[in-house]
Symmetry: C2
Subunit: 367 residues, 2 copies
DNA sequence: CTGAAAGCGCTTACAG
DNA sequence: CTGAAAGCGCTTACAG
């Protein structure tokens, strides 16, 4: 099976008895071609299956219609959702996608990655890596002056010097905790993600805010740091029960850890939700088939991905126009709201007792 | 923040006081440059942060060092594993990846997708879409003669006219069923994936083969078609219990459906594994935290992805050499073996009773 | 409506 | 060791 040589515009032009420009005009659907010529060229293109070399086209137009995507952790739920949203919208808009996966979110390879993508002449870059430790430092130096527009998407603090699309992670914590309080819970533990993750810190903050607002305990004994895995959720429950035997609810910062909590509760004979309410985050598909089915907080990640593409497209257009106008533009920072999904793992809403009463609850139950 | 213009080789050459060829030599690490010149050029490259335009380089070299990946269903476990394997190996070998997602596996857009990828001058294409219905028909016509090497990976029949890397799905069914038999099960139901999927049919075939070999029942009443979702697994168990009330084991063709079965068993008060053994397929991370933890069959999907890149690289090299030699090569079709993982949802191995005895089991328990 | 010329940013022979 | 010339496959002004 000899792979045949790819056709060029020259050969098509010859076959049609016209110049290459005319073929180019047909390819780009320009109006200024005689109808008869247009048809003749078109027929030859169809017959030969000719397709223009997009590398060459990109070279002349200074535009590749390719987006560079940097992502992390396809084994997790969030990143795949964002990526799906990105790909779908990109395909819709005629963009190709160049995918780069990072193996550790705390990468220091950001610089070379961005340069490599720029060298490949991508029109824009979507950085879909969660903010962990100092892994965003590059954005301060690299953002302005970098030859290609960059957009951050996913778990990061909303206000950055680089345009960004984020989910309101503080609201995630507030939504989950408010729901647990409304269900009558009074000692609400939390199992967070790794605290070098911005998302984990924000969800924790949301939890604390609501507990404070209701005058409920939110001390150290009600708090355990997990690592997003189900195993850490199960261990986390054990540790919570050591420091606060009488907890009546747990906010697990993702569904995997919530699954670990359900598993642990089952093992320990604590009934969910009667003895213990549980809420997770993410709304993974399996959650409705856990036992009991899992209450959770949904993040509009696919929307975030799609919005990222829409936004980067605008930024690309702006950058092109700016070459002429040389004006500067605002840095869009959008934050999307999460949504609570109530299932069977949490007690349904009751009347919330007045604040004064909650203040009298025992503050800490050291084991 | 005016995005600065990208530097070109010409500007670097000027700054260094040499010709562009000399800069090119330095960029490509050619030996035939005076040490002093080499250093001078290198310094300027470092100072300016110049990076060569890879589109232009690809155009002259007729090679983009880009791989086109066509995948489906990032919301599922398998595809993300394959993709991770592909990306990792590709990055290691200096390939970029162009990702195209398909929304329905039964696409008829294969042709235009392949053409588009070819137009983007990818060096090779990895087709990571499972074989569903007739969605592989293109490979007969498109494979040979197509200007870029194509490799199939994932769920497909091993023997194709196009090179392929597959998992032995028949072995998956045999492994799971043999294990259930070894645990003492005698009426083993199956919940398959959609039967227009090759993978689903193969797992079903493996199940039937083992039951036959042991003289165990494998009639219609023990068989339900699912759709890979946990919900279909739960419904599937209900239906199995209607037609075969006395089943003592279920082989669910993926872990999600197995989760549905566990859920259903819990609801119906059937103890797992005492009343009902359950085995899934995939070895998803959460499986060890289901209740009880899920026995399953692992597929080496990441390896398959990595092997796919290694193989396509060889094919690309071969194709390049063949342009000179004009020889033809063999079509590699590799099949990788799965691995059984035993946890708590299935009874541990016992002595298997002799065949004669099993033959006397009631053949069918119509509800 | 159509084509000859020039150029996008590189690399590949070819000279010297 | 280094550079002038040509070319990769397109598109963009510019003529006519």
């Amino acid at each position: 099976m000899a792979h045949r040589r790819r056709l060029t515009i020259k050969q098509v032009a010859e076959a049609a008895g016209v110049s290459t420009q005319t073929v180019s005009r047909v390819l780009n659907n320009r109006p200024d071609v005689a109808a008869e010529t247009f048809r003749r060229v078109q027929r030859i293109i169809a017959d030969t299956g000719y397709a223009p070399n997009l590398l060459a086209r990109g070279l002349t137009q200074g535009r590749s219609r390719t987006l560079g995507i940097v992502a992390y952790g396809l084994e997790y739920f969030g990143p795949t959702r964002i990526l799906t949203g990105i790909e779908r919208q990109a395909a819709k808009m005629g963009y190709s996608i160049t995918l780069n996966l990072i193996h550790e979110p705390e990468t220091d390879g950001a610089d070379s990655l961005l340069n490599n993508l720029a060298a490949r002449q991508v029109d824009g870059i979507i950085w879909a890596i969660p903010e962990v430790s100092q892994n965003r430092d590059w954005s301060h130096t690299k953002g302005p002056g970098f030859p290609v527009p960059v957009l951050l998407v996913g778990g990061m603090s909303g206000q950055t010097s680089v345009p960004s699309i984020a989910i309101d992670n503080g609201a995630i914590g507030r939504l989950a905790t408010e729901h647990l309080v409304a269900g009558g819970a009074r000692r609400i533990g939390i199992i967070t993600g790794p605290l070098n993750w911005w998302e984990a810190r924000e969800r924790h903050r949301g939890w604390r805010e609501i507990l404070r607002a209701h005058g409920l305990p939110n001390d150290e004994g009600l708090f355990v740091e997990g690592d997003w895995t189900a195993a850490s959720g199960e261990r986390g429950l054990d540790r919570l029960l050591e420091t606060a035997r009488d907890i009546d609810a747990v906010f697990a910062s993702n569904d995997q850890m919530a699954l670990g909590v359900l598993h642990g509760a089952h093992r320990l004979g604590r009934r969910v939700p009667d003895d213990l309410s549980v809420v997770g985050v993410d709304n993974i598909a399996e959650g409705s088939h856990y036992w009991p089915s899992l209450s959770t907080v949904h993040q509009p990640l696919r929307d975030a991905g799609a919005l990222a593409v829409l936004t980067i497209d605008t930024l690309i257009e702006e950058a092109n126009r700016r070459d002429e106008l040389d004006g500067s533009s605002v840095t869009p920072n959008r934050v999307l709201p999460p949504k609570l999904i109530v299932r069977e793992s949490s007690r349904p809403t009751r009347a919330v007792p007045p604040r004064a009463e909650s203040d009298e609850l025992p503050y800490r139950g050291e084991a």
